[in-house]
Symmetry: C2
Subunit: 208 residues, 2 copies
């Protein structure tokens, strides 16, 4: 079967659906509807049905979605039904918070390489997976050796572009960037930004 090209904006909503489904599973629920998902997420039920229809038939008219089944299908579609190795650069407050983050568990990611430039941090063991902080000089070699495709940048803004370049040259295909700066990468590499400003600004519209 030839899979049609699916708009990136649809792909971008899948993790949000998966997140909501995980919450429903945690609440012990078994069946949901596009209406309920939509109400929770502020997305129309029609949009959700249309998005999911790109990937197949997940619910029956009138009976809703089997939550665990839909969750497992989405995990497969997004390829997070396996574990991806992730390289983290930056072991300051932010980097340590990311390394400690409990939310990666069971979501498809494992931070198992951490880098910094600070001599006081090198060799220290940090984070959820008890990883030794390595010198950022070893970043490229380590990425290549382990075939890591995903990187997280948690450095100061000034350092982010150079780190991104090293990551890309070594084979990283996806970058999650916490530094408050836009980074330039080849079009074959994907970048997502974690920016609290975007989250805050989408709420102030409603304040009086």
């Amino acid at each position: 079967m030839v899979r049609r090209q699916i708009p990136d904006i649809v792909i971008g909503r899948l993790p949000v659906y998966l997140r909501a489904l995980n919450f429903l599973v945690a609440e012990g629920r078994e069946i949901t509807s596009s209406q309920e998902l939509g109400d929770r997420l502020g997305i129309s039920s029609a949009q959700i049905r249309k998005d999911l229809s790109h990937f197949g038939e997940f619910g029956k008219q009138g009976t809703g979605y089997d939550i665990v089944y839909l969750r497992d299908q989405l995990r497969q579609i997004m390829k997070v039904d396996k574990m991806w190795d992730v390289a983290l650069v930056g072991a300051g407050n932010l980097g340590r918070a990311v390394a400690d983050y409990g939310g990666f568990q069971g979501k498809g990611f494992r931070i198992n390489a951490i880098f910094d430039t600070d001599p006081h941090l090198l060799g220290k063991t940090i984070g959820h997976n008890k990883v030794n902080v390595q010198d950022v000089k070893d970043l490229a070699a380590s990425i290549k050796e382990r075939g890591i495709q995903i990187g997280i940048i948690a450095t100061p803004a000034e350092a982010a572009q150079a780190v991104a370049r090293t990551m890309v040259d070594a084979g990283i295909k996806c970058i999650l960037n916490y530094a408050p700066i836009t980074i330039t990468v080849p079009s074959s590499v994907r970048v997502q930004y974690i920016d609290p400003v975007v989250g805050l600004q989408r709420m102030t519209y409603y304040l009086s």
Copy 2:
């Protein structure tokens, strides 16, 4: 003039447009197009034009958008042309990283109240704005006294719901939640989640 109800999903894209416009300003650019913005953001140019048309007429056919003008209009629409006080709860690694974040500057937000439970942190001065860490016992009184409407939760998952409840009872209307847990609030309160998993999962689809 009566403003029509604008879909929340449209409101949610405005900060992303503003972010892109800020980058263009930083690059010294003066004019852009819905096509260029769309290419940068992975959103169709038709969607961008439709979103912006909810708020007025910002560009002329064939000449594109004046970047600074559109940026300033969006800042007004989102009400981030003024400075909002923000209360941050949690002064551990993550909280300190948020407090230190350089990206809030000029974006409409100022973290000027920080709370924790750790006796070793109380009274310490942290973050970009050199704020004293207060006891979380004083959270409600401080929010009320200053009329703060925006809160950021950077606590462990176990503490997040109780903090959210205290915030809401004291008058907070918008919460940015970093804790890896869903929080329950009245429907009059808005919550946004900062979740690195969502950012990572929307890229793995493209990996092979």
